[in-house]
């Protein structure tokens, strides 16, 4: 029932009178009669008190069933989030500010973004990062757009990339009228022979996900060489947790590095808000879409941060801008920076190592069950695909025991393990699957 309007009805009447207006209709005199909604004509229920709204929304939340143990990833990862990482972004100043257009009263936000950009550059080995885009899928689509020039228009994407990423890049290509070609996968990894064949002089960029949708680790350095030889740009979509222990995309020859940053302190949240990160070389920095914070000085020589390189952006370039993005996921970028600061290099490495080790432990135990086999033969990080006899029953049995099992996909079941899951929980899950499969 609240509308959060401080003025009383009497005050509002006085204000109307001060304006020389008889009533509300006079205020809206430009709105034609044919479309003006009279009082009460809006066809939605009446307002509720905060108490009633709370009960209603809580009842909806109660209809969901969160799982104590999550063995499912596929683009949304249940990593541990330190308490402070949840707390800091709820500070009202960060929460309720707009995009930092007025640098003099926004140094806190601008500095936090500058620190975030630095962290992303450290993880990826790149020279420059933007202030974020919407998520990993849109980051891939934006990267494909920034790599096109007049001659090279075609984008290649690996069939082993996340299906939502492929569909999103396909949609952006549909918009701009550019061609997207899918590089087939073999044994769960990008088919390098097929890639070589598809790499013509018209190819602007190649998108590879590392680790890919199936959890498999691509030969990212080898692919880098192939792409370079063809004169195309190399876009790598990386898991930011894996980057703690993986070689940097920079060493592998990447021109643009993107990824889904949800793992860096954001809860699963039924898919969002998440965080798209983008980093690139000094050479391509001015082709990055979105906000970029730069360091400079004021007249007294004090360090100052500003939204920089704005000549790239839509409010200046209008239809000549390469992207229309303005609002991004700033608070998620702040969250990621908090996460990285809290975990530190050692903590992040632990999260990566434990995720990988526990995934391999689960794979080892599951494949002891008759009929359960790894579908792909290559090295993997924290996700892998198995066959699973009586798949539906096994997954349901896990759910009944408060465990969200792997994701059923065409090739089998895609499992994921993070550092959050203990060995005892993994053993319990394996026993449940074993019972179903051997029944």
């Amino acid at each position: 029932m609240a509308s959060y309007i401080p003025s009383t009805p009497a005050q509002q009447q006085q204000m109307l009178q001060a304006l020389g207006l008889a009533d509300w209709r006079a205020l809206y005199r430009d709105v034609p009669d044919a479309i003006y909604l009279e009082d009460g004509a809006l066809d939605i229920p009446g307002g509720l008190s905060e108490l009633e709204v709370r009960q209603k929304i809580c009842a909806m939340a109660a209809k969901n069933k969160p799982f104590a143990t999550v063995l499912r990833g596929a683009g949304a990862y249940d990593h541990y989030i330190p308490s402070i990482v949840r707390y800091i972004p709820t500070k009202e100043e960060f929460l309720t500010a707009y995009t930092p257009y007025q640098a003099e009263m926004s140094q806190g936000i601008l500095q936090s973004i500058f620190e975030y950009q630095t962290c992303i550059c450290e993880l990826t080995g790149m020279d420059a990062a933007n202030a974020s885009v919407y998520d990993g899928a849109t980051a891939a689509a934006e990267a494909a757009a920034m790599c096109r020039d007049r001659k090279r228009r075609v984008t290649l994407i690996s069939a082993a990339a996340h299906p939502d990423t492929i569909a999103t890049v396909r949609t952006y290509c549909y918009g701009s009228g550019d061609e997207l070609r899918i590089v087939p996968a073999r044994d769960g990894r990008t088919d390098l022979e097929a890639l070589k064949e598809l790499l013509g002089p018209e190819v602007a960029s190649v998108y590879i996900q590392q680790p890919n949708f199936y959890g498999q680790l691509e030969d990212a350095p080898g692919i880098g060489q192939i792409v370079k030889e063809a004169g195309a740009h190399y876009i790598l979509g990386c898991d930011p947790i894996a980057l703690a222990i993986m070689g940097t995309p920079r060493e592998w020859g990447a021109d643009v590095v993107v990824g889904e940053g949800q793992s860096l302190g954001m809860p699963l949240s039924y898919g969002g808000p998440y965080l798209g990160f983008m980093a690139t070389t000094a050479k391509l920095m001015r082709d990055l879409p979105g906000r970029i914070v730069g360091q400079t000085e004021d007249a007294q020589g004090r360090r100052a941060f500003v939204l920089s390189l704005q000549a790239r952006e839509q409010h200046i370039r209008r239809e000549k801008a390469r992207s229309n993005i303005c609002s991004n996921e700033a608070l998620c970028a702040l969250t990621a920076a908090c996460y990285l600061a809290a975990m530190g290099p050692a903590g992040l490495e632990q999260a990566a190592r434990q995720s990988m080790a526990k995934a391999h432990y689960l794979a080892g135990e599951l494949t002891k069950i008759s009929g359960v086999e790894l579908v792909h033969s290559g090295p993997y990080f924290h996700e892998f695909v198995t066959t699973l006899p009586r798949q539906a029953q096994a997954l349901k049995a896990l759910e009944d025991q408060d465990i969200l099992g792997g994701l059923p996909i065409r090739e089998g079941v895609l499992w994921c393990v993070t550092e959050k899951v203990s060995r005892a929980e993994l053993d319990r899950a394996v026993n449940i699957v074993k019972e179903v499969c051997q029944a």
Binding site: L27, L42, V53
Partner: protein, 466 residues
Amino acid sequence: MKLIFERSVPGHGTEYLPPCDVEEVALPPHLRRAAPPKLPQLSESEVSRHYTQLSKQVYGVNCGFYPLGSCTMKYNPRIDEEMAALPGFTNIHPLAPGYTTEGCREVLDLAEKLLCPITGMDAMTFQPAAGAHGEFTGVLLIKRYHDARGDHQRTKIIVPDSAHGTNPATAAMCGYQVVNIPSAPNGCVDLDALKAVLGADTAGLMLTNPNTVGIFDENILQITQLVHEAGGLCYYDGANLNAIMGVARPGDMGFDCVHLNLHKTFATPHGGGGPGAGAVGCKAHLARFLPKSALMDGQDDHLQVRSFHGNFLVVVKALTYILTLGREGIPAAARGAVLNANYLMRQIRGFQPAFDRICMHEFVLDLSRFKKETGVSALDVAKSLIDRGMHPPTMYFPMIVHEALMLEPTETESRQTLDEVAQVYGELYDLAHQDPDYMHGAPHNAPIGRPDEVRAARDPVVRQKL
């Protein structure tokens, strides 16, 4: 203020994880990292202090008056935040089986059911993550519509010159040629200019109404009719919906699709630049083209603009807000916003409105004469406002007004606040005539003075060297 990297001390840190209880596995040698990333090393107390100090150099709606035109900086209710933080929402995997996510579905379905009558649309998607993303989605719907009819000759999108920069940028991203039309002297669509460019090559029109000078276009029904007669579709940019929600509906105005900024109109916080949510509504004839998720909804040739189903928690916040306001509160908020804008416009002394008439939720001051008289620019006034402890309005937009300051007070400001604000603007008007140099040097009391932006662009430093 020190950077977080400058506070880092080797060996500082907090252990959040238990020791690994399974056998370690190593990456293949050619994929291993040579040296760890140089992330900051701080104890939790040091992290906490760093961000608390940063937060003191941030100005949010909760800090004070924030009349950023076109951004609808209204109060963000705390209950909305609390509801979005419920573990029953935050701990739900987007790919969990349907029977365990019924509450999430209900949130999305109910939000659609409430926003359709507010906009006059028939269906809605919550996949777009921000306003510009919603524009992109909406114009793609138009493109799909024409393509599905085999109507491939429609290559142009019409955009008024008063539009947000995102409109032409969006049309270009969708492969369209942008046709800019000049506004009429009253800031609204020039019907003759519109008629002159409409034709068999018109894919659609993108329009904000009330427009970016804060005026409701009284010819709106004629405008949409003209576009439809030419075979084009009409796209409603929802940036300014706050002025008319519950009072007039884009669907009734003749628009075929609309994007909403849930983070403006429906009170979800902007977070210093996101996350937002750019819900897109459309009429029935476009509903089958709405985007889906390949992984959640199955793979076919659908549109998809982001992974999964968008910024779900932002929708929870907006839904909480809409349920709270309801049938009476939604139009009351719009009326309050329009009343506050008109009241403030009339209370401000000295500075001239660009359009001396009733406005909607925002108004534009034209400081070009003032600048000729005093030498003080819109920028100088904006920076002087910072010294007075309030956020400046939007500057130098829309481009059709020179030396523009665009104020949108929103409905959540009291009359007392507006009176105080008007007083401050009046004082600055006087100050400009007495001591313009002082204003050229503003702000004087902020943590920094005006930063050297030219240098930032010429020699970009976008990361700390470690």
